[in-house]
């Protein structure tokens, strides 16, 4: 599990730095009050789901950096597509690093404007879940990986 945690951390840094030009700082604080969430399920030798929660400010900065649009021109549609794609990239990158040999199926990413709370459906501390929290100048992000096998 420790290795998976490290791999997930690498994937998040890689996606945020390469695609969004955002440099995240890991945080021990479990932030509450996220504004948007994107979720994706994966099936293969590893099975589970990955959820990415973002503050609205973080989501807007991600769009702005990715598409080169001013912050005040970022739309809800931009935010939704960008959050879903970020979850998709983190998940695909993580799975490729964690298990390069096998083929996986991925669900279409789902988007929630009112996050489903601080993940009561997969409590922190369970051995099969990994939660990582990040802070940055652009806002906050948190990620939860839940494994079901």
């Amino acid at each position: 599990m420790k290795e998976l945690r490290q791999t997930l951390m690498q994937s998040i840094f890689e996606v945020f730095e390469k695609m969004f030009y955002i440099f995240l700082e890991p945080s021990d604080v479990h932030f509450l009050g996220f504004d948007v969430e994107a979720n994706i399920d994966f099936q293969g030798a590893l099975m589970g789901s990955l959820s990415l929660q973002l503050s609205h400010n973080m989501a807007k900065h991600m769009v702005s950096h990715l598409l080169n649009v001013p912050l005040d021109q970022v739309t809800d549609e931009h935010v939704q597509d960008c959050a879903k794609e970020a979850a998709n990239m983190i998940c695909g990158n993580f799975i490729t690093k964690a298990d390069h040999q096998n083929a996986y199926d991925f669900s279409s990413p789902q988007f929630y404007t009112a996050p489903r709370g601080p993940w009561p459906y997969a409590p922190d501390g369970k051995p099969e879940s990994i939660r990582l929290n990040f802070d940055s100048d652009s806002g906050r992000a948190s990620i939860l990986l839940s494994l079901s096998n």
């Binding site: 890689e14 769009v63 990239m89 990158n93 991925f106």
Partner: protein, 143 residues
């Protein structure tokens, strides 16, 4: 006459990013057409002359590799250069893409230089002015 690139991905953001990279890459005027999945991509390929295709893998109606398989059954599309851009880059997926004649496999997340290099390597587009390609340690695989 400008070249045409078909960009297939269910994410509007990714399509926009690839389009923007192509436009600023110094290949001169390139017409970019969007499709949201493989089915729409095939439909466009049946009526448009396209010089290069960029496609994702996992998409709603028809995935990129399934589309590539369909393309290779058609004589007119058998040699059309296809660049796969995907976050799911496991060995089996990449091997399958190679078997289907994928020209290049770019892993997401990617640097702009990777798209530009893939475009140059297809040989379909001529760069305007002198060659100013940036050679980087890119995270992309040639077939």
């Amino acid at each position: 006459m400008s070249a045409t690139a078909l960009i297939i991905d269910d994410s509007r953001s990714i399509r926009e990013v690839i389009r923007r990279i192509i436009r600023i890459s110094g290949f001169g005027p390139v017409r970019c057409i969007d499709a949201v999945d493989g089915r729409e991509g095939l439909e466009i390929l049946s009526r448009e002359k396209v010089d290069v295709v960029f496609t994702g893998i996992h998409m709603p109606e028809m995935g990129g590799l399934e589309m590539l398989g369909e393309m290779r059954k058609q004589a007119a599309l058998q040699n059309l250069p296809v660049v796969v851009v995907a976050s799911d880059a496991g060995l089996r997926r990449m091997k399958r893409a190679g078997e289907l004649g994928c020209k290049k496999f770019i892993r997401k997340p990617f640097y702009p230089e990777e798209i530009k290099k893939a475009l140059a390597d297809t040989g379909q587009l001529k760069e305007a002015g002198q060659d100013e390609r940036v050679e980087t340690d890119v995270d992309a695989v040639d077939f």
